[in-house]
């Protein structure tokens, strides 16, 4: 797990979202902004009325703790698996999905910055078991160089949202769309070359279950075709092996 300290994560998250966060021995006391109130607290009617009346609205003061024993009616418990955390995670996932960033460098003469397309892609292998892994791939949009573990590589540098002084951008030779397809193809090739024991086991189980089902219905004329189809669909939903690619986030990075 990469969020090692939830308490610290929350301080960072709320602060980054312009909330004032104060710590005390019981947990965190957070003054929400209107935007965060609307996003995290469940009071749509309040905000609907406020907007209708063209008012400012009074965002709530939120008390939270990651320590269950310190939670109370006034102080909400936040932990992985709670409703609050679910909402926060959705918010975080949505806010950092697309980006365009420039390497933060300090130069005195004209310096070119090269475009890289970076995509963090979740690969889900699903059958009777489910496994997930995130691949982070970067592609140089000029010469087609590809790097693995791009996120770690990027994390070593400083990034800013505006072009640094004296720098100019090289226009991509590979279009974003094509670049993305290359990254995708690279991952699919990798998958193609792997042994998929999980899929074989799932498929065997699928066939086995279908055989039992066939046997059951073959000898039982009372049961109708519709029911048979339903059961078959149920079985397929559990066992059919599938691979799913989902982009967590990605964007264009300009670097020297």
């Amino acid at each position: 797990m990469t969020i090692e300290n939830l308490h610290d994560f929350l301080i960072e998250y709320f602060t980054a979202n312009h909330c004032t966060v104060a710590e005390d021995e019981d947990g965190l006391n957070i003054q929400l902004t209107a935007e965060m109130d609307e996003r995290l607290l469940n009071r749509p009617f309040y905000w609907q009325y406020v907007k209708k009346l063209n008012q400012q609205g009074q965002p709530m003061h939120l008390k939270v703790t990651t320590d269950y024993l310190k939670a109370s009616r006034e102080r909400s418990y936040i932990y992985f698996g709670t409703e609050y955390f679910r909402k926060i995670s959705e918010d975080v996932l949505a806010k950092g999905k697309y980006t365009k960033l420039y390497q933060n460098i300090n130069v005195q003469q004209q310096t070119p910055l090269y475009p890289w397309l970076v995509a963090n892609i979740k690969i889900t292998l699903q059958g009777k078991t489910k496994q997930e892994v995130i691949k982070s791939i970067g592609l140089n949009l000029i010469n087609g160089t590809m790097v693995d573990k791009a996120q770690q590589w990027l994390a070593d540098e400083q990034w800013q949202t505006t072009i640094p002084d004296y720098c100019y951008l090289i226009t991509p030779l590979i279009s974003f769309k094509h670049g993305f397809l290359r990254i995708e193809q690279y991952l699919l090739d990798q998958l193609q070359n792997q042994q998929h024991e999980w899929a074989e086991l799932s498929y065997q189980a699928l066939e086995e279950e279908c055989r039992l089902l066939d046997y059951f219905f073959e000898h039982d004329s009372e049961q109708d075709q519709e029911q048979y189809e339903k059961e078959r669909a149920n079985i397929k939903a559990i066992y059919q092996p599938s691979i799913l690619l989902t982009v967590i986030n990605g964007g264009v990075f300009y670097l020297r």
């Binding site: 975080v92 960033l101 489910k130 995130i134 949202t161 066939d214 000898h219």
Partner: protein, 546 residues
């Protein structure tokens, strides 16, 4: 082999769009945070539970986590959870449901529980697992809600039935699933017709009586695993040891059953004692008259009358007045002249000596009302509890009992699902003749979370059928000490549908008390013999497997 592939079709178009129109996008910290969050939410490798990493405020017991793991890994989410009462089936089901939600495998679920437990399920899932559910009330919208809790009576009624059948559920959970043992009932067919991916059936009494019950439950989960109805009975109804072992092996593919004796938990003890009671001379005289009378040719009805009289005058009265014969009128007259019931007086005495909270179970509603009145006369506060109560009233009664009253008087229907660990005295004012029901009663207080030893008092009036049955069930076959699953198996082998019916047959078919006694002793002896036999087999099995 075919592997389905789904690619992300929208991401790159959205990104391109944002780039060309120069929309504001995430800074580095936001981008990094999203990546970290995605890592944190990642489904772990199999053989680990995400839920135990993400839920820290509940101490799950080892057998509960193991059960969840087994259901996920080995049974692929279609299982019968059949722990003995009080080991936490609800928690196991919650663990599995939450794990599937965290893994992104379940979004839409339907939870069917007895009406009296709807609230309890909702609050337990919320408090322990932060699972938000919707309780189906007046006009539930089945297509809108992710996780819905309902009673089967509501669900199978139109227009709900049609709407529910049109949904696709990722998970279906059914509590008290032993009620689905008969494949010809509407309930069974409804559940069978539901479109469901994963399915959990919860029951403490998976094999109540018949072999076909097992077949029906297993078939709901994995049609064909036990063959079909005809081939199943042909194969397994022979009663040979090899076939039994084969059946057991197949059933174990879909069933997890934890027993108290196998868990490493420190269970508090059960102190069981029989409280013998004598009728007054006048009462014995009446009992005798009732026995001799030929009210109806129905022998079971007569047995019923005798049982009722052993409970209270009121219980018998409510039955007698329904009959229009001269004889019944005469009996009613006699009945009216009787003093307070000897058993009820004994109850008052016992409750006073215990001087702590007690639960009293009775089979009859008339007795319940009478007892409440009598206790009040003696300055003892009590609350009634019935299956027919509305949800809110049940919760309220439980709270009243906890905070204000000394005694809770429950009829049978109140036996399922309510947790009363704060109490540790249970009085079986009259005993059910079905051993499972006794176990369910005791399970209300003797469950995980009970800090003290529990005391169980069995009332029986000497020289009556009550006495005979108590001796048979609870002394001769040592019901309280033995594993109930074994008893079921034996009954199935003996081709006895249920102990209750068997006893009724014995009593109905006998002309004298002596005959009843002899027949019951015979039954007890056979059961006892087979039980020892069974224990030897299972010991043998253990030795082989170890």
């Amino acid at each position: 082999m075919h592997i389905e592939l789904t690619r992300d079709q929208t991401f790159i178009d959205c990104l391109s769009e944002k780039l060309t129109t120069n929309q504001p996008m995430a800074d580095w910290h936001e981008f990094q945070r999203t990546y970290n969050m995605a890592q944190a939410l990642l489904v772990p490798e199999s053989h680990t539970l995400k839920v135990s990493e993400q839920i820290k405020h509940v101490n799950f017991l080892p057998h509960q986590l193991e059960t969840a793991q087994t259901v996920l890994d080995d049974m692929n989410g279609r299982a019968i959870l059949a722990d003995e009462v009080g080991l936490g089936k609800t928690i196991e089901a919650g663990l599995i449901l939450k794990e599937y939600i965290l893994r992104g495998l379940v979004k839409k679920a339907l939870i069917i529980v007895p009406a009296s437990l709807v609230n309890q399920w909702a609050s337990e899932l919320h408090e322990k697992f932060f699972i938000r559910t919707t309780i189906a009330r007046k006009k539930p919208i089945w297509s809108n809600e992710d996780i819905m809790i309902t009673s089967i009576d509501l669900a199978k009624r139109e227009p709900h039935r049609q709407e529910i059948l049109a949904q696709h559920y990722d998970l279906l959970l059914i509590d008290e699933a032993h009620k689905l043992k008969n494949h010809q009932t509407k309930n069974y067919q409804f559940v069978q017709a539901l479109s469901k991916k994963y399915c959990l059936l919860l029951t403490a009494t998976p094999i109540q009586n018949k072999l076909t019950d097992v077949f029906n439950l297993v078939t709901l989960l994995r049609p064909g695993l036990l063959g079909n109805q005809r081939t199943f009975l042909k194969t397994f109804d022979r009663g040979s040891k090899e076939l039994d072992a084969e059946l057991k092996r197949l059933v174990q593919k879909v069933m997890v059953r934890n027993l108290r004796s196998e868990t490493s938990l420190d269970w508090t003890k059960r102190h069981v004692q029989t409280v013998p009671i004598s009728f007054t001379e006048q009462e014995y005289q009446f009992y005798h008259d009732l026995e001799q009378s030929c009210l109806q040719d129905f022998n079971t009805t007569k047995t019923l009358y005798l049982r009722e009289f052993c409970s209270s005058r009121e219980a018998l009265y409510t039955s007698l007045i329904k009959e229009q014969s001269n004889q019944s009128k005469q009996l009613v007259q006699q009945l009216e002249g009787l003093p307070h019931h000897a058993k009820a007086l004994k109850l008052v005495e016992l409750i006073k000596t215990i001087n702590e909270k007690c639960i009293v179970f009775t089979e009859y509603r008339a007795t319940q009302v009478y007892l409440q009145w009598l206790l009040k006369e003696h300055g003892i506060s009590s609350v009634p509890f019935r299956g027919g109560f509305k949800r809110g009233k049940k919760d309220w009664m439980k709270q009243l009992f906890k905070d204000h009253a000394q005694v809770l008087i429950a009829t049978e229907a109140g036996g399922e699902g309510i947790n009363l660990q704060f109490c540790h005295h249970l009085i079986n004012y009259d005993l059910p003749w079905n051993p499972m029901r006794v176990e369910q009663r005791i399970g209300r207080i003797h469950r995980y979370g009970q800090q003290q030893d529990v005391h169980i008092y069995n009332f029986a009036i000497e020289q009556t059928i009550e006495d005979h049955v108590l001796k048979l069930l609870y002394q001769k076959i040592h019901l309280f000490e033995r594993i109930i699953g074994q008893l079921d198996h034996i009954l199935a082998k003996l081709d006895v549908d249920s102990i209750e019916d068997e006893i009724n047959t014995i009593i109905g078919g006998s002309r004298s008390i002596g005959e009843i006694k002899i027949k019951m002793n015979n039954l007890a002896a056979v059961i006892d013999y087979m039980q020892q036999d069974q224990e030897e087999i299972s010991e043998h099995d253990n030795r082989e497997s170890s």
